[in-house]
C-alpha cells in the first residue's frame, strides 16, 4: 500500500457561517428561493405601481366617453407592419376602426381597419392633471399623436370609455381598499391579539371567545346588513372608507389569532424573561423585543388577508351594496360586465375579472412564500 505524502497543508475546513443576520434578512434569503413567490412579488409590485401611477399610465381619462366607439373591440397593440411599398414599419401602433350603425339590432359593428395605422407615442402630451392628486403633470405614458383618434388597446365599454384606463383607475381603488382594510385589521389584530397573548388568562379567554364568535358569523349577511345600513347620502369617499372598515371588522380576527399565538409562544422564551428580569416595561418588551421577532409572520399573514378583502369588495359591488358608479373599482367594473350581453358581444369587459384572478393568485402565492420563509419549519 503506497503512502502518499502530501505537500499541501491540511486544508482548513471553513467554519459554518454564523454571521448575525436580522430575521427579515434571513426571511428574504429564504424567500428568494421560492421562484413562484418571487414572480408573484413582482406581479404585486407591478399592480401597486400601476395603482400609484394610475393617471400617468392610463391612456385617457377613465370617464372620457366617445359616442362613436361604444363597445369597440380591443385594438391590441402592434409592432410590425408592411408598408404599401413592401417595406417594413416598426414601432408600436394601433389600427383604426371602420364602424357602422345597425339601427334594427341597435348596435355598432366594428371592423379593424388595417389601412389606418395610428402610431403610439410614449410620453404623449395630454391635458394637465395631477398625479395621485398631488403632482401636476401633462404627459401620459402612452398616447396617440392625435388625441381624437380611437385608442382602445383593451376595447371600450358601453359608453365608449377606454377599458384600459378604467381598469388602471379601478386598480387604484380596489388594491388600496385591500391594503387599507388590511392595515386597519392589522392594527386591531396586533393590539388586541397582542394584549391577549401577552397577558393571557381571562382577558385572553374573552378575546378568543369574541374572535370565535365573529368567525362563526356568515360574512356576507353581516356585510350586507352593515352595507345596507350605510347612510345613503354619504359621498363616494365616505362610502369607500366605510366599506373598508366593514371589511376589516372581520379581517382583524384572523390576524389577532396569529399574533396571539406568536405572543403566547414568545412569552416563555428566554429573551423575554431576561428582559423582564432586567426590569423593562411591558410596553418596551412588546415593542422592542417581541414585535420585531415576528414581523415576518405578520407580513405573511397580512399578505394572505388582502385577497379576501379584494374579493369581498367585488362581491359587495356585485350585489349593489358596495361601491357604486361613478366610482371606478374592479367590483363596479365587473358589475357593469355581469350580464349576458357582455358575455356574448363584449367579452373583453371581463378583463377586470382576469385582473382580480391574477392579483389574488399572486397575493396568495406571495403570502405562501412569505409564510414558508418566515417559518421554514411549518406552522
Amino acid at each position: 500500500m503506497a503512502v502518499l505524502l502530501m505537500e499541501t497543508p491540511v486544508s482548513e475546513i471553513a467554519p459554518r457561517r454564523i454571521a448575525r443576520e436580522s430575521q427579515l434578512g434571513l426571511m428574504w434569503r429564504r424567500f428568494r428561493q421560492h421562484r413562484l413567490a418571487l414572480i408573484s412579488l413582482w406581479v404585486v409590485v407591478f399592480f401597486y405601481a400601476v395603482a400609484i401611477l394610475a393617471e400617468f399610465l392610463s391612456p385617457t381619462d377613465p370617464s372620457a366617453y366617445n359616442a362613436r366607439y361604444t363597445y369597440a373591440p380591443p385594438q391590441g397593440i402592434h409592432f410590425f407592419d408592411r408598408n404599401e411599398d413592401g417595406s417594413w414599419y416598426f414601432g408600436p401602433f394601433v389600427y383604426g376602426y371602420k364602424t357602422e350603425i345597425d339601427p334594427v339590432a341597435l348596435r355598432r359593428t366594428f371592423v379593424i381597419d388595417e389601412e389606418v395605422r395610428l402610431p403610439v407615442r410614449f410620453f404623449a402630451e395630454s391635458a394637465p392633471y395631477r398625479l395621485a392628486g398631488l403632482i401636476p403633470m401633462s404627459t401620459r405614458f402612452i398616447g396617440l399623436e392625435n388625441p381624437r383618434d380611437p385608442f382602445y388597446i383593451l376595447g371600450a365599454d358601453r359608453l365608449g370609455r377606454d377599458l384600459l384606463s378604467r381598469l388602471i383607475h379601478g386598480t387604484r381603488i380596489s388594491l388600496s381598499i385591500g391594503l387599507a382594510g388590511v392595515t386597519l385589521s392589522l392594527f386591531f389584530g396586533i393590539v388586541i391579539g397582542g394584549f391577549a397573548g401577552f397577558y393571557g388568562g381571562r382577558f385572553d379567554g374573552v378575546v378568543m371567545r369574541v374572535v370565535e364568535f365573529i368567525r362563526s358569523m356568515p360574512t356576507i349577511p353581516l356585510w350586507l346588513g352593515l352595507a345596507a345600513a350605510l347612510p345613503r347620502d354619504w359621498s363616494a369617499l365616505q362610502t369607500y372608507f366605510a366599506i373598508t372598515i366593514i371589511l376589516s371588522l372581520i379581517g382583524w380576527t384572523e390576524l389577532a389569532r396569529v399574533v396571539r399565538g406568536r405572543f403566547l409562544s414568545l412569552r416563555t422564551e428566554d429573551f423575554v424573561t431576561a428582559a423582564q428580569l432586567d426590569g423593562a416595561s411591558d410596553w418596551r418588551i412588546v415593542t422592542r423585543h417581541m414585535v420585531p421577532s415576528f414581523t415576518s409572520h405578520i407580513i405573511a399573514a397580512a399578505t394572505l388577508a388582502i385577497p379576501g378583502m379584494i374579493l369581498a369588495e367585488t362581491a359587495l359591488s356585485f350585489l349593489g351594496l358596495g361601491l357604486q358608479a361613478p366610482i371606478v373599482s374592479w367590483g363596479t367594473l365587473l358589475q357593469d360586465a355581469q350580464n349576458i350581453r357582455t358575455l356574448a358581444t363584449a367579452p373583453w369587459l371581463l378583463m377586470p375579472g382576469l385582473c382580480v384572478i391574477v392579483v389574488i393568485l399572486a397575493l396568495n402565492f406571495l403570502g405562501d412564500g412569505l409564510r414558508d420563509a418566515a417559518d421554514p419549519h411549518g406552522r
Binding site: 359616442a67 361604444t70 339601427p103 341597435l106 355598432r108 359608453l159 358608479a325 361613478p326 350580464n339
Partner: protein, 635 residues
C-alpha cells in the same frame, strides 16, 4: 235606463240568441281541459257558467285551446307582471288604442252633469271563480273594506280628499257618490287602479272581518295572526298587491286562477283557466284559449331570465328583459330561440327629467332654480344628440318633457324648445340668470359668492342609463361653468329626502307622454312625484299641510284649470283645459328633459297568434292585458 243601455242589452240578447240558434256549428266551445270536469259534475255546463251576455272579443283569428304561456317575474315582489297580464279586470277598461273607456264587468254607466254621481249596471250572470254570482253587494263590501282604516289599502276609493260612497240600487245596479266633482273617475277606473273595486268577494272576505263574523279575531289567532286585520290583509289583499296572489282560495274574476301561488318561496307562479270566465270569442267560444300560465320567478337577477328568453323558453314578454342593451342579443337570437321582436311604444315621454328643487331651503339656490333663464341655460348646454347616440345607440331624439308624438296633446314647440345644443346661448342665459362671475376652477358663482354646485340624486339600480346620461351631462355642464355632483342612492332615501326638503335636484323618467291628463306631474305641481315643486304640490293636494307652500301664480292658475278638469264630465272640455295647462308649462319651462324615450320591443314566440306586434307600454294602461291575452293562442 237610457237608450244606449237598452241598445246594448238588446244587442247582447241578440248575440246570445244567435249563439243558441246556431248551436255547436258556431262554436260555443270550451277548453277540452274542462270537458271532464263538466262530465264529472264538478262544474256546471258552459251555458250555466257564462253570463247572459258575455263580453265578446273580436280577435284577428279564432284560436284553439291549450298550451301554456311562459313568462318571467323578477323577484318575488313582481306583482306588476300579474297586474299587467291577469288581473286587469275592472268594471271598465280602455280600448286597445288607449283612447276611450269601454265596458268590461259593467256593461253600462252614466254620470250626472256635476260628475259627483256615477251609476253602473253590471253584466248579468257573471260568476266569481268559485261559481258564486258577482253582484252590487261585492262592490259595496269592497268600498266598506277600503274605508276601514284597519284594512291597509289605498286607492281612489278612499282618497282622503274625495272618498267614494256607494249606494246599492239592485243586485246589478249601484251608484258611486262623491262630495266633490270627480270628472276623471272613468279614466281612473279604466286604468290599472280600476281593478281595486272588483278585487274582493263579500262571501269569502267578510268571514275575516269582525263586523260579519264575531269569531274573526279568534280565527285570526288560530291561523297564526296577531290581529284580524293582518289575517284579512293576508287572505284578501287588495287590488294588485303582491300577497293577493299568495292565496289560491281567494275567488277572482280573472281569466286564469292561481294554481301555484306567489309565495315568498315560489320559484314559479302558475295559473290555470277559470271555468267561469265571462268573455267569449266572436264565435261564442269561451275564452281564454290558453289553458295555463307559467311565470318563473327569478331570484333577483334577470340574467337567467334573459338566457331563458334567448333559449325560446319565454312566449311573450317585454318586462325586465327587453332592455336597450340586450337588443342586439335578442336580435341575433331570433332564429335559435324561435321568436321574433314586436314593437313597444313607451308611455313615458323622456329618458331623464332633470328636476331642480323650486323650494330649496337655501334662498339663493331657491331663487336660482326658479329662474327660467337658468334652466334654459342648462338645457342649451346639454348635447342631446351625443347622449342619444351614446346611451341609446341613436334611438330617440332630443326632447323636452312633453306629450309624445302619438298623443293628441302633442305640441312640437313644447317638445323641442331649448333642445338645441348651443353653449354660447347657454352662457348667455346663465349670465342673464345672474351667473356672471367664475371662480378659479371655471365654476360660475351664485349671488352669495358660492360656486353653482348641484347635487343630483339618482337611483342607478332602477335605470342604469341614468348614471350614464348624468355622467355625460356632468362634463357638458362643466363646460359652461355649472358643476353637478352625482349622488347615487337607494330608493327609500330618495323618497325620504323629499318631505325633508333635503335635495338640490332629482332625476326620474318622463312619465306622462301618453297619459297626459292622468299623469301631469311634470306639467304642473300635481303630486308627490312633482319633485321639482314638491311643496307646491302639497298645497294643491292638502296631504301634508305643515310643509305646503303657496305656489307661484302661474302654477296656481294651472291648478285651478286642473280642478276644472276634475269637475268636468265632458272629455272634449277636459282636453281643452289640459291644453291650457300645457301652454303655461311651455311658457314656464319648469323641468328639463333630455331625449324622447326610444321605442322598446317585446319577445314573441313565433307560434303565438293574435299577440300584438305593436303595443304601448304603460302602467296605467297595463299592457299587454288591454291587448286581450285571453284571445292569444298557440298554433
Amino acid at each position: 235606463m237610457n237608450k244606449t243601455q237598452c241598445f246594448k242589452a238588446a244587442g247582447a240578447v241578440a248575440i246570445v240568441a244567435m249563439l243558441t240558434a246556431a248551436g255547436p256549428a258556431l262554436g260555443a266551445g270550451q277548453s277540452p281541459m274542462l270537458d271532464a270536469l263538466v262530465q264529472s259534475g264538478e262544474i256546471p255546463p258552459l251555458e250555466e257558467r257564462l253570463p247572459a251576455n258575455p263580453l265578446v272579443l273580436d280577435a284577428e283569428s279564432i284560436g284553439q285551446y291549450g298550451g301554456t304561456w311562459r313568462m318571467g317575474m323578477n323577484g318575488g315582489g313582481d306583482n306588476g307582471l300579474i297586474a299587467k297580464t291577469v288581473a286587469y279586470e275592472g268594471l271598465v277598461r280602455f280600448d286597445r288604442e288607449w283612447q276611450t273607456v269601454i265596458p268590461n264587468l259593467a256593461e253600462s254607466w252614466e254620470a250626472n252633469a256635476e260628475a259627483t254621481e256615477y251609476t253602473f249596471k253590471l253584466r248579468e250572470g257573471v260568476k266569481w271563480s268559485d261559481g258564486a254570482p258577482f253582484t252590487s253587494a261585492d262592490i259595496a263590501f269592497t268600498v266598506e273594506m277600503y274605508q276601514d282604516p284597519e284594512y291597509a289599502a289605498s286607492s281612489w276609493i278612499d282618497n282622503i280628499n274625495n272618498p267614494a260612497t256607494v249606494e246599492v240600487i239592485d243586485d246589478l245596479t249601484f251608484k258611486f257618490k262623491f262630495n266633490r266633482p270627480n270628472g276623471m273617475l272613468m279614466d281612473e277606473m279604466a286604468s290599472v287602479n280600476g281593478i281595486h273595486i272588483t278585487s274582493l268577494q263579500k262571501a269569502y272576505c267578510s268571514q275575516f272581518h269582525p263586523s260579519y263574523n264575531e269569531n274573526a279575531a279568534a280565527d285570526a289567532e288560530a291561523a297564526g295572526f296577531s290581529s284580524w286585520a293582518l289575517h284579512l290583509q293576508d287572505r284578501c289583499a287588495w287590488g294588485w298587491e303582491t300577497i293577493r296572489f299568495a292565496n289560491p282560495d281567494l275567488p277572482t274574476l280573472y281569466a286564469w286562477v292561481l294554481d301555484q301561488p306567489l309565495t315568498a318561496n315560489a320559484s314559479r307562479v302558475t295559473w290555470k283557466r277559470n271555468p267561469y270566465y265571462w268573455k267569449v270569442d266572436s264565435e261564442g267560444n269561451q275564452l281564454p284559449y290558453i289553458d295555463r300560465l307559467d311565470m318563473r320567478v327569478s331570484q333577483g337577477g334577470v340574467e337567467e331570465l334573459t338566457l331563458a328568453a334567448l333559449n325560446g323558453e319565454i312566449d311573450f314578454q317585454e318586462r325586465h328583459i327587453a332592455t336597450n342593451v340586450n337588443k342586439p342579443l335578442f336580435f341575433d337570437g331570433q332564429e335559435q330561440g324561435g321568436y321574433h321582436l314586436g314593437a313597444v311604444i313607451p308611455s313615458a315621454s323622456n329618458t331623464l327629467v332633470f328636476q331642480l328643487n323650486f323650494s330649496h331651503d337655501d334662498p339663493v339656490k331657491r331663487e336660482l332654480f326658479q329662474n327660467r333663464d337658468f334652466r334654459i341655460g342648462i338645457s342649451h348646454a346639454i348635447d342631446r344628440e351625443e347622449i342619444v347616440d351614446l346611451v341609446f345607440t341613436g334611438q330617440g331624439e332630443p326632447y323636452q318633457v312633453a306629450p309624445r308624438p302619438q298623443s293628441p296633446f302633442y305640441d312640437e314647440e313644447l317638445a323641442k324648445q331649448y333642445t338645441e345644443f348651443n353653449p354660447e346661448l347657454a352662457i348667455e342665459h346663465l349670465e342673464a340668470a345672474g351667473l356672471t362671475e367664475m371662480n378659479g376652477d371655471g365654476v360660475r358663482l351664485m349671488s352669495d359668492g358660492q360656486p353653482v354646485r348641484i347635487t343630483v340624486d339618482v337611483i342607478s339600480a332602477l335605470r342604469p342609463e341614468w348614471i350614464d346620461i348624468l355622467e355625460i351631462m356632468q362634463l357638458q355642464l362643466a363646460a359652461v361653468g355649472v358643476e353637478i355632483e352625482l349622488n347615487n342612492i337607494d330608493r327609500t332615501l330618495f323618497y325620504e329626502k323629499r318631505p325633508s326638503n333635503d335635495y338640490d335636484a332629482q332625476v326620474w323618467a318622463g312619465d306622462g307622454g301618453l297619459e297626459v291628463v292622468q299623469e301631469p306631474r311634470y306639467y304642473f305641481p300635481f303630486s308627490d312625484e312633482s319633485v321639482w315643486a314638491y311643496r307646491w304640490a302639497q298645497w294643491f293636494n292638502g296631504t301634508r299641510p305643515e310643509i305646503a307652500e303657496e305656489p307661484a301664480d302661474w302654477a296656481q292658475e294651472q291648478m285651478e284649470l286642473y280642478r276644472q278638469i276634475r269637475s268636468s264630465s265632458d272629455p272634449d272640455e277636459r282636453a281643452d283645459l289640459m291644453r291650457q295647462i300645457l301652454a303655461i308649462t311651455k311658457e314656464q319651462f319648469p323641468v328639463i328633459g333630455v331625449s324622447l324615450m326610444p321605442d322598446s320591443y317585446s319577445i314573441i314566440r313565433n307560434n303565438l297568434r293574435n299577440a300584438p306586434e305593436t303595443m304601448f307600454n304603460a302602467w296605467l294602461f297595463p299592457t299587454p292585458a288591454p291587448m286581450d291575452p285571453v284571445t292569444w293562442y298557440f298554433e
